[in-house]
Point group: C2
Chain length 401, copies 2
């Protein structure tokens, strides 16, 4: 069953990895870096192709060093060699017998960085906003001291910029998982029942996604409440879903390493007018956001298009702090779609469009209560606009009877 | 369906979190720390109870500051407040409107750390072996500079030591997922068919685990080959399973945040003598390892018991570098069970017993080939020995016809 979709998506060839390397080295030259030190799963995979769930295990780090010229060097535990031989195009692989807490690859990394040392005297590492280092920071500081007078500065922004623009192979993966999840949400609207818990709902969706070819489902939240939900990033809990409830499920699931990230809502029984108005308002703001997207437009312009369609107070009330973001090997990538961000959209960027509002309604006891409502879609920027990667949410909230 | 197991496992009460805090503060006092700065999901959850899949999103970090006296402070994005109110006992919550790349909580963290400043002038952070910082390193370095003359040193080892010994509530969670996965593997032996791919096999197991109450399945690898597999940490691929193949599946799945981590093997058709001998040898080494476990014994002694049962060359041939490890909120926790590690086992530690060997066999063309064979079980150290958390693997490899 999983092969059907896989066959429509071709493997990423060595040529593509070499093109990524070439672009990276051009950017390094322009920015004045002799080498990049990569340790985070997404950057490591982007350059090397290395594909393994072993990143869950924090005992053994791995390192990719991209020199200004020539092929990358991978420094990894012995137990990673077969993975590299099977999934990566990199031939210069240096190993140590991990775990070895007193030197978990550190001396090999220092040696490799020293041999890259050149004109600029600078190495780029993953230090900037939204980055995470895939190694112990104590070891990073040791490496930094050992390579002096070479300095280590943030270099992740180079890869972040390159990774924003996707290749056809990358877009195909985002589309594959976007379609799997869209169809899964549509089927979920049929299989949900009053009396299900949030946990049941999330489990039903996950079972469906698995059966239709999703690879991993790292993020499947479910939040519900009477006439709306209080936030979009927790659960599922054992809360039982019943008449009057609104349920949101948001999923970041993957196909061959690439994420979708979008949500859908379900009303248990006919939703009240407040909920229907909020849904319609945010649905239309989503359309406004999508319509604003084309090459040359800035992310802040897309934000403004959505903000115009909503009202400013209710936008800030969600607490989410932006209305969309990049998407790819990570569930959230650069850029943010917010009031300040000036990133200029370009063809083949994959982004989410994610407007939301806070709204007031009345609970069964007649008390005023605050809820949020957030929609999300995944799109790719095309030459003259955008194309959907998720299938557009229904114009009215699906009702579970 | 998921409630059945959940009802047997009680929520972790505020008393338990307060006891964890108390032990942490005692350890901080003894080690000379004025505060701990925690940013990794496992440590953050261990102290605060904060439970959300939002850690998949790297845009917004969060910080827990444990002072030497008094309650912890949480510094988090506004969008995390409802999660904290719902899942955490912490009342001192300070927020900022994230994402805000120019100050993603940094000034709030600096202010909170300065107000903890005391006699020792030292703050502990997650810097040591096997740790990962859950925030950008650039921001960490900024904080380090801003709190000077207070110094920041590795303090994670304190929590690592405390977290090694589990509470009854933690053990119940490890047991719950250990049983779900054990039963799932047993059912998989019945549902596997020649002609399935590795991906099908992994998907069947995951669907089963989900249906029986597993929460997340971050790690479900599947590797196969003729008469054995080449490593234990990659796949599943689209390789078709057929007569003569051996398949290993290893899963790190969770129940309410706590992991199991063990594997099972499946033979497609009657396994050859080399495979049967290897399986029997490693099965007996697993028993030897389990039998060696009791309070007061060192991890290296448990390793020796397994090494004695195997032979030294074939042990190092697996490349795994150890024969078990701690288990809990992470799939792999301190300590390692290896030749050097001197950790003294104590009651209520949860560990994996994971011996393995490299062995030679002959492929269908008559060529000598190298394979590995690794077994794994999850146990808890008891007052006079140990108790199984996984259900012991069958004495002979299950055969799929």
């Amino acid at each position: 069953m999983t092969l059907r979709v896989a066959n429509e998506v071709l493997p990423i060839a060595e040529d593509e990895y070499r093109a990524r390397l070439d672009r990276t080295q051009h950017a390094m030259k322009a920015a004045g870096f002799d080498a990049l030190l990569l340790t985070a799963e997404s950057n490591f995979r982007y350059i090397t192709g290395f594909n393994s769930q072993t990143w869950v295990n924090l005992t053994r780090p791995r390192y990719c060093i991209v020199p200004l010229r020539g092929d990358p060097v991978v420094i990894c535990p012995k137990s990673n060699v077969v993975i590299l031989e099977t999934t990566s195009w990199i031939s210069d692989v240096r190993t140590w017998p991990a775990p070895r807490p007193e030197d978990d690859g550190v001396s090999l990394v220092v040696e490799a960085l020293k041999s890259c040392s050149g004109q600029s005297g600078r190495v780029g590492a993953e230090l900037g906003a939204e980055s995470r280092l895939g190694m112990p920071v104590g070891d990073f500081l040791r490496i930094r001291d050992a390579v002096a007078p070479t300095t280590i500065a943030d270099g992740e922004y180079l890869l972040r910029r390159l990774r924003m623009v996707k290749s056809p192979a990358e877009i195909a993966r985002c589309r594959a998982i976007g379609h799997i999840a869209s169809d899964g949400f549509a089927r979920l609207a049929q299989s949900l029942r009053a009396g299900d818990t949030e946990r049941d709902a999330a489990a039903k969706l996950q079972a469906d996604l698995l059966a239709h070819g999703a690879e991993k489902m790292p993020y499947v939240i479910a939040v519900s409440g009477e006439h709306g939900y209080p936030c979009i990033n927790m659960g599922p809990s054992d809360r039982v879903l019943d008449a009057g409830d609104v349920l949101i499920i948001d999923t970041g699931s993957t196909f061959d390493g690439y994420y979708c990230d979008f949500d859908r809502e379900f009303a248990f029984g006919t939703p009240c007018d407040d909920v229907r108005r909020a849904y319609d308002k945010v649905w239309r703001a989503t359309s406004a956001g999508i319509a604003a997207v084309r090459p040359g437009v800035r992310t802040c312009d897309v934000w403004q298009a959505m903000a115009l369609s909503l009202d400013a107070d209710s936008v800030s009330g969600t607490g989410v702090g932006r209305m969309g973001h990049g998407l790819g090997l990570q569930m959230t990538e650069w850029p943010s779609i917010n009031r300040e961000d000036q990133t200029v959209l370009a063809e083949n960027m994959v982004i989410t469009i994610e407007p939301g509002i806070a709204f007031s309604t009345t609970d069964r006891h007649g008390h005023a209560v605050q809820k949020v409502l957030v929609h999300e879609e995944n799109i790719v920027v095309t030459v003259d606009g955008s194309a959907m990667l998720s299938k557009r949410a229904p114009t009215e909230m699906p009702v579970v009877h």
